[in-house]
C-alpha cells in the first residue's frame, strides 16, 4: 500500500527535475515576487467563473439555510426567530437519532460492496478482451435509468407474492421475506438497488484512473517476478489512491443523502424503517412545513459529512501517491 521500492519504480529517473528547475529560494527579489503574483492572479482568473457560480447558486443558498435553521418557518408567512431552538428540539428527538443511525447503517451497507465490485469490474474491463466496449456500456446502463421508472420496476421485483425475486427463490424452496414491507430487509433492499445502480458508474472513475498508470511499471514488476496480485498491491492500488479518494468521498456524501430510491420505493416505511436523514428532511420541509427544522437537520448532516470527509482526507494524505517518477 505504501511507496514502491526504490529500485522498482524509479528506473533511474532520479530527481532530475529538482536539479534543473530554479527553486523558489534561488531567484529572490522583486522579479520573482512579481512572477509569483502574476501566476497567482492567473490562478484566480481560472477559478473566477466557477467561483461566481458557487457563490450565487451554492454558497448564498447554503448561508440562507444556515440562517433559516435559527427560525421557525412554515414556508409561507413571517419566520420567527427561535435561536438554537430547532437544534435543541432535534437532539432530544428520538426520530432524529433513529434516522441518523439508519443513514450510517445505509452508508455502511452501500460503500464497501459498491466500491469493491466497481474496482474489480474496472480491472477486468481494462484488459484487452473482445467486446469490452459493449460490456462497459451495459454495466453503466443501470445508472442511466430515470429514477422513478426504475424504482417502480424494483418494486415489482421485490413484491412478496408476484415479485420476480421471490418467485425465483421459491424455485429453490427458499422462504424469502416480504422485502420492502419488512423492517429488517427494507433498507438492505434499497441499498441493493443503489449498489445495482452505481457499481458501473464507479467503475468509470476507476477505469479513467487506471489509464494514468504507465504500463512500464507492470513490465518492470513482472521482470522482478511479481505476480498479478502483488502487482495490484504494489502498483495499481497506490497509484489509484487519488481516484479512490474521490470515489469514497463523493459516494459517502451521495449515500448519506439518499432520497430518490427511498421516496419511490418505501416512502420511509414500513413505519420509519427506511426514514433516512435526507428523507426526514424532505418530510419536515414539504409535508409538515417545518422549513426551519428541516434546515437545522440539513446543517447537522452537513457538519457530520464534513467531519467524515476530513477524516478521509487525513487517512489518505499519508497514503496517497500522486506520482511515482
Amino acid at each position: 500500500m505504501q511507496q514502491l521500492g526504490p529500485d522498482g519504480a524509479n528506473f533511474g529517473q532520479g530527481t532530475t527535475s529538482a536539479a534543473i528547475i530554479p527553486q523558489p529560494g534561488l531567484l529572490r527579489g522583486r522579479r520573482q515576487f512579481k512572477h509569483e503574483r502574476r501566476l497567482a492572479l492567473q490562478a484566480y482568473a481560472f477559478l473566477l467563473p466557477s467561483f461566481i457560480g458557487l457563490l450565487a447558486f451554492s454558497l448564498i443558498p447554503i448561508l440562507a439555510v444556515a440562517v433559516l435553521s435559527l427560525f421557525r418557518w412554515g414556508l409561507i408567512g413571517q419566520p420567527t426567530f427561535i435561536g438554537l431552538g430547532n437544534y435543541a428540539q432535534m437532539f432530544s428527538s428520538s426520530s432524529f437519532w433513529h434516522s441518523l443511525l439508519l443513514t450510517l447503517y445505509y452508508v455502511l451497507l452501500n460503500i464497501p460492496m459498491q466500491t469493491i465490485f466497481a474496482l474489480l469490474l474496472a480491472l477486468l474491463l481494462n484488459q484487452k478482451i473482445p467486446g469490452r466496449g459493449i460490456f462497459r456500456t451495459l454495466f453503466v446502463v443501470p445508472w442511466m435509468a430515470t429514477a422513478v421508472a426504475m424504482g417502480i420496476v424494483w418494486q415489482w421485483i421485490f413484491d412478496p407474492q408476484y415479485g420476480t425475486l421471490n418467485t425465483f427463490l421459491g424455485l429453490f424452496h427458499i422462504a424469502a421475506p416480504a422485502w420492502l414491507s419488512s423492517t429488517t430487509w427494507a433498507l438492505p433492499a434499497i441499498a441493493a438497488v443503489n449498489i445495482w445502480q452505481y457499481t458501473g458508474y464507479n467503475m468509470l472513475f476507476f477505469l479513467a484512473g487506471l489509464q494514468g498508470i504507465p504500463p512500464d511499471f507492470y513490465e518492470a514488476a513482472s521482470l522482478d517476478g511479481a505476480n498479478p496480485v502483488q502487482q495490484f498491491f504494489a502498483i495499481t492500488l497506490p497509484l489509484l489512491t487519488p481516484t479512490l479518494f474521490f470515489v469514497l468521498v463523493t459516494d459517502v456524501i451521495g449515500s448519506a443523502q439518499v432520497f430518490d430510491t427511498v421516496y419511490v420505493m418505501t416512502q420511509g416505511g414500513p413505519g420509519d424503517a427506511t426514514s433516512v436523514l435526507n428523507f426526514n428532511i424532505f418530510r419536515q420541509a414539504f409535508e409538515f412545513f417545518h422549513a426551519g427544522y428541516a434546515s437545522a437537520l440539513s446543517m447537522v448532516l452537513f457538519a457530520i459529512l464534513l467531519i467524515i470527509t476530513l477524516l478521509q482526507a487525513l487517512f489518505f494524505r499519508s497514503r496517497t501517491v500522486y506520482d511515482l517518477s
Binding site: 430515470t146 463523493t250 452537513f302
Partner: protein, 296 residues
Amino acid sequence: MTSVSTELASRKAVAIERQAGTPWRRISGLVAAYIILILGVVVSLFPYFLALMTALKTPNQVFSSSAWSLPHPATLQNFIDVVTKYNFLDFVWHTLIFAAILTIGQLIFSTLAAYAFARMQFPGRDQIFWLYLATLMVPNIVTLIPLFLILKTFDLVNTWPGLVLPFVLGTPFGIFLMRQFFMTIPRDLENAARIDGAGTMQILFQVILPISRPILATLAIITFVPAWNNFTWPLIITDTNDLRVLTVGISAFQSNYGTQWNLMMAAGFIALGPLLILFFLFQKHIVRSIHLSGFK
C-alpha cells in the same frame, strides 16, 4: 557488462513467458472473465427486461399478467403514442440542449478551476478548495428553496438561463474529479515545457489536455447523463411545455388516476436510447493515451 545484459535478457524472456502463459491458460482465463461479465450483465439488465416487457404490452395485458411474462401479442402502440400524442420529441430536444450546454460548461470551467487547484500556487488554495468541496455536503432538498427565490428575483423562472445557470459554470463535483486526475500527471512533463518557455495556457492546452482524454470523456459522461436525467431542478424552475424535459414528461404518466406503466416504460426507453449511443461513443476515449505511455 555482457553477463549483466544476458542475465537481464533471460530474465525478461522468463517474465514474458510467465506473462503470456500457455494458450490453454489464456483461454480458460478469458472464459472465466466472460462468465463473470455475462452474469453481471444479466443482473444489470434484468430490470430493463421487465421494463421492456411492460412497454410492449397494452394496459389490459399489464394488469392481467406478471411483469416478466412475454407480451402476447406485443405492441409498439405505446412507443407510437408517447411520440405522437405527448410531444415527446420536443421534450427530447429540450433535454438534449439542456444536457449539452451543461456538459460544455462543465468541460471548460471545471477544467480551468481544477488545474488551478491541482497545479498552481496561490494564497488560500486549499481553503478555497475545501469551500468548494463543502458545498457538496449540504443536502440540496432545502437549499433549492433559496436557490429558486434567487432566480425568481432575477426573473429567470421559465427561462433557459434559469434552467442552466446554476450548473453551467462548472460544479464542485467535476472540479474535484479533474483535480484528482491532474495531480497524478508527472510534474516533469510540465517542467520540461516550462523550461522551453511555455506559459500556463500553453502547458494546459498542449501538454495537459492531450493526455487527459480519458478523464475528459469521463467528465463529459458523468455530466451529461445526470443532466439528462435531472428531474427536480427542471420541475421547480419551469412549468411550460416550451421548456419541458423528458423526466418531467415521464413523471406525468404517474397521476392521481393511477400510473400508465406501459407508457411510462416506453417513454423511459426513448429517454435511454440517446444516452446509450452517446456513452458508447465516449467510452472509447477511456483508453490509455499515447503520450502518457510513451513518456517514460
